[in-house]
Symmetry: C2
Amino acid sequence: MSIEIHPIRGIPEIAPGDDLGALIVDGLKASQIALSDRDVVVITHKVVSKAEGRIEQVSDDRAYRELAEREARSILRRRGDLLITQTDHGFICANAGVDRSNVAEGWAVLLPVDPDRSAHRIRRHIERLTGVSIAVVVTDTFGRPWRRGLVDVAIGISGLPSTLDLRGESDAQGRTMNVTEIAIVDEIAAAADLVMGKADEIPAAVVRGLDLAGTGRATDLVRPPEEDMFR
Amino acid sequence: MSIEIHPIRGIPEIAPGDDLGALIVDGLKASQIALSDRDVVVITHKVVSKAEGRIEQVSDDRAYRELAEREARSILRRRGDLLITQTDHGFICANAGVDRSNVAEGWAVLLPVDPDRSAHRIRRHIERLTGVSIAVVVTDTFGRPWRRGLVDVAIGISGLPSTLDLRGESDAQGRTMNVTEIAIVDEIAAAADLVMGKADEIPAAVVRGLDLAGTGRATDLVRPPEEDMFR
């Protein structure tokens, strides 16, 4: 099984109230991509948040910091202007996901209130418009405590399992495998980022060739506090 | 720019001393993949370690635990049989990367001594055999402290930058971006895992369509202690 990843071009700058699903379908046409059943449409949360009106004015650095603190459920670490926070969704990330890049000067983009619900709504809308059965992953760009550089991860999903649980399956030697719950939707998010870039106007991509279906939620990926050794 | 990811099939079970580069080239032929310049060959470290003789007998759970402790430079956390360790390379991962899945009963696979050097050697060998200019990424499967499930990351690279540094570039609104050092090789590793699986006999894949070149090392991704807020 091979996989293809195609950028969706032609999606305009998004404003509150825009019909993001329809604009993605327009972008697919402009990119000459005909959606197929089981395609995964990966969308950076930034356009989802903008369409949902999850943007706020931040007049200066102080206003930005206050907004990030307000969006955080708790603050794990603080270093200069960087807060490591847990959001209301449970995600642990910098500055509660509040971001000032790729938005107009003086504004910040917040995370969607319920990114799994956003993914589900966009999925159903694209399915209605196109007649094909797809999955949707909404992404954000997170740091990692011990590895430099950022990677895209899934913060909202619809139509997919959150993990592939291979525990109990046999490996190639017939041994039962032990450590094998794969965060497949994070791998999909990372893969899609390879064609999206950060400065380009490519907020979405199609990942084709996976044969996955499920009803997981990205919040399933939040490690419960009792398993967390590093908070 | 679209990306394709193709599994490399037909690579046999690897034993110490095997010519892994040649076996990958055979696998490419068996998979009807003709390598192109700039292709990235992604290889799970397990076959690299086996070819390099980095396997050891572990008679029981205690011997396994002792081996993991010996391979660790330091132990960050301990919970039951699970050690969170830093390896000599600097990577922070479970059980110093020592793994008993996909290896014969009674044996464990260690990490390569110098995975960047392994990647470089395999790259040069495949380039000599095929006459094309490629990059190589050697991967392992790591957990994350706050997110459930495992993802593949790069532990050795050759012919690529370790990160894409977009700091100083402008975003779509012309603003200078702040948080934009992308761990591109970890995203490549995660993407390739989508076609490899864990129980299948597919230890390598080709990622095609990226236009990257560089001389980074996977150890560049190790966050220096002075930046680390969670050790």
